[in-house]
Symmetry: D2
Subunit: 208 residues, 4 copies
């Protein structure tokens, strides 16, 4: 519902106002807490260091690589430190993913307002950002700015493996994250609003 | 340009690759800097405290209030500490605005992915978020979540004055900020891409 | 434990390495998750708007004001939207507090690396930042930069009420927040490490 | 100056108050700007993608590696996209560094409240976090939480090369960043306050 109208006038906010005389919100999620309670909540438990071994990463990634229906844009693993709950990532603010692209495949053009930094651990090909082609090889790093369209192609004869860094974790928790994937599908809201039709391991042909 | 094509193949990235033999980026904005240089850059000068007096705020705000062509959504002042440059706000991360709405006026439905926290210093009326009407009066506080449509109406017989807090400053500097204003105008990209047709003190009737 | 030593050699990390042959971390908190699982975790539920009425705020604040043992630095309420869990604040990134200082009282010198923006709703006095005294009155706003010592004194004959904005919420969740309170107490680590001896409603005379 | 005293009473804040009658701040850095001006400032220019080639990174890193006086903790290069000014990093929020540790060397115990994520591109050894030793080899990733002491030792017979990700960039710009380096040196304030005695390519023996 985007417009207030007569019906909205009977919503919780106004009703509560009439019955309580103090303009209460209708949802009950706004609370006034004392300093004592607030400092209990703001002090989070300690985070332990974490390690992800090369074997574990590659094993899981290779498993995904064997799925014939899985497209390249869903063929990645993410490193999660379980010690910081809702801010789920390698750190509370940073997502680390390791992505596998088979020779000849393309991760189709898409964009998001998290910045992505690609470090190429293996393979050759092109990362294209807003129409400019950047050739890549092992050891290169390319950054794709926020909300720039980009695609990745593996053009050599070995798998491309990218070590991907994004500030997605914090943005998701703050509900500021936008995705448009694939290009042209009007779904830019989905990570903000918490709903998405398009996130699946296999692409939906109805959308392409 | 959203798609790579034959023309993009002659772009700087690939050309540089051919002539230099090392896959250079074409734009020259990617630099490898030493630890010594980096720590010079990451150490920012000190920030001084700042004060904005009630008189200064109200004087500037009243000046805007006298402009007959200025609509309510452009009738605010912002408190800026000039000591942190590109992160222009009351703090490096936080925007503070004081907004004036004349009786009978409405700030039309719009949204952004910065969260806005409204504290009402004066006036009565309604703030409507995604169709739910919240009555407000002096001393109330209402939060509008990221990317939720909202409008403000001053329905009493005195001006509404809102003290508005947003995390806009940091989001703008990180190029993660989205605005859709007014509702239905397709301009969600403009704060990210740095261009906008719609930001003007007076609304464009062609857009309404 | 700050130094590695012989004992540390028997810690989980190395033991796991020997028994498993793959350099596993010892704590079990580092997990490799698939794209499918990660996107389930990063998509958070929607946040609803929230309202805190003037009456609720003032009632709770006055209750704290009657406690004869409660010092001014613990006499505040905070506005929390319960819809974003660990990021507990008025928004996922922003803390809003309303603080009450009785005439003649001083909030003693302290500092934190969250920036604080003080808007004075009532009262007169001085906010002193790193030795510079800023007089305040109703309607003024003062910003105290990160890690600057500051104190507040209510010197008039009515209560001072401050509407305080800080970026504390996000910093606490990311474990980057530091407090030194009161000045000279070596407890700068406590908000990062999740422990603190000094947070209590009444000050500990042993510490002063 | 940490305490207000008689001298502070003659500081800019109070003097301005007397002469102007409106409680002006003394520093002139607090400005009240109109909506029109603010939106000019908050709209930043576009950021272009950037690429850093493996050859450029390694060439600069090897150059640092030949300096006999340079210690391991200063032997890194950082990838900077020059398009986002004060937020100097590979992205506005993220620092990427590539660090070289010669066999037998140790990066001494230190800590910072930015989180560091180490991906090992080459070499073997131990990263020790708060006393727990984590063995590393090519392809492993280890995260060191905010404000945890850590050191790195290269124990094999080839150089260790680490690809390091930190959220340092944004924290530095927001003046929330703390370093203690090396352990025991009281310099936790320096990145916040913008001054530091200890940042040099070669360690100061007086400090050890």
């Amino acid at each position: 519902m985007e417009k207030s109208d007569a019906t909205a006038g009977t919503a919780a906010g106004e009703t509560a106002d009439e019955s309580e005389g103090r303009n209460e919100p209708g949802f009950g999620n706004g609370r006034v807490v004392t300093a004592d309670e607030y400092f209990q909540r703001v002090r989070h438990h300690n985070v332990r260091p974490a390690k992800w071994s090369a074997e574990d990463m590659m094993e899981t990634l290779e498993e995904l690589g064997k799925d014939p229906l899985r497209h390249a844009e869903r063929r990645f693993v993410s490193l999660v430190n379980e010690d910081h709950g809702e801010l789920a990532g390698a750190s509370p603010g940073i997502f680390i993913g390791i992505q596998l692209i088979h020779p000849g495949e393309v991760v189709p053009n898409h964009r998001h307002n998290s910045v992505a930094i690609y470090h190429y651990l293996q393979g050759t090909g092109f990362t294209t950002v807003e129409g400019t082609k950047f050739p890549y090889k092992k050891g290169d790093t390319i950054v794709c700015p926020a909300w720039a369209y980009h695609e990745h192609a593996a053009t050599g004869d070995e798998d491309t493996i990218m070590y991907v860094t994004q500030d997605m974790t914090e943005m998701a928790a703050k509900r500021t994250l936008f995705f448009e994937e694939p290009q042209g599908i009007e779904n830019v809201r989905h990570m903000v609003q918490g709903t998405s039709k398009s996130w699946s391991a296999t692409r939906d042909p109805d959308k392409e």
